[in-house]
């Protein structure tokens, strides 16, 4: 099963460390946004991606469960921004930008920068099965002890 960046908003402390880390990795432009609600938002790598449907140059491509943006093919038409349900694509002057799951870091066997940086464990890089297994464990423990737990 593929690895994904998964969010646990209940752990987010709105410290913006993920934004800073992301900006550092992507030439000063963060692909993750911490919102006033206290949720880090980034591209969900949708399976039924609406952005892919409107991209007419092939700049957006789906491969191995990821939505990849090829900047060299991007015309900066802004249609994908208007098609994204989550507002997770940005426009940097003349080209679109979005979370690439730190492809350059993963090539070297490193985790995405936001995941590594988050001090609260609100962003994790794991497969869905492991993620839900851990959440079930925490929920079980909370129920058994009668205390709310927010374990990592």
């Amino acid at each position: 099963m593929g690895y994904e960046v998964l969010i646990r908003p209940e752990r987010c402390i709105s410290c913006f460390a993920c934004e800073v880390a992301c900006a550092r990795e992507h030439d000063g432009l963060s692909n993750v946004w911490v919102l006033p609600a206290g949720v880090p938002m980034l591209c969900r790598q949708c399976q039924n991606a609406t952005c892919l449907e409107v991209c007419y140059t092939g700049a957006l491509e789906q491969r191995d469960g990821e939505v990849i943006l090829h900047k060299d093919k991007c015309t900066g038409c802004e249609l994908c921004l208007l098609a994204c349900p989550f507002g997770a694509i940005g426009l940097d002057g003349k080209r679109a930008y979005k979370c690439d799951l730190c492809s350059h870091r993963r090539r070297e066997g490193l985790m995405p920068a936001c995941v590594l940086t988050c001090p609260a464990g609100a962003i994790s890089y794991s497969c869905v099965a492991d993620f839900s297994h851990r959440k079930r464990g925490i929920a079980g423990l909370s129920w058994a002890t009668g205390h709310e737990r927010r374990g990592r």
Partner: protein, 128 residues
């Protein structure tokens, strides 16, 4: 001389041609809720980027002497923050494709990208 022929009825007012035009002959300006795209009469560059970039094929090259063209579009305002974010033609181009994938018109179509981000964050926070 090579002239630029733009089909007004095909143009949806997106940013593609103005973004790819390296010498900035095609300009796009958003002022308030109006978007203005100005095309030059002719272009002497050895380049067809705008022609290739246009999503609707509204741009063609012709011969003879043309005249500069300025197209005006009205921008739709976000229903939450009120910021103008897209032309009506752009949304008319995007929505059928989006609806096809999602199986119906999305309720977020009236929101700008920033407000969509915020709304989905609030929704996510409410689910836990």
């Amino acid at each position: 001389m090579r002239t630029l022929e733009v089909a007004r009825e095909k143009c949806i007012g997106c940013r593609a041609c103005s973004s790819v035009c390296a010498p900035l002959y095609i300009s796009l300006t958003d002022v308030g809720n109006r978007r203005t795209i100005a095309f030059p009469a002719s272009c002497e560059e050895d380049c067809d980027l705008c022609l290739k970039a246009c999503p609707t094929g509204a741009i063609a090259f012709g011969a003879g002497s043309g005249k500069p063209l300025t197209l005006e579009f009205e921008l739709i305002s976000c229903s939450k923050c009120g910021k103008p974010f897209a032309t009506g033609e752009e949304m008319a181009f995007v929505l059928p494709k989006v609806s096809k994938v999602l199986g119906g018109e999305p309720d977020w179509k009236v929101l700008c990208p920033e407000c969509r981000r915020e709304e989905s964050a609030i929704r996510l926070k409410g689910e836990i």
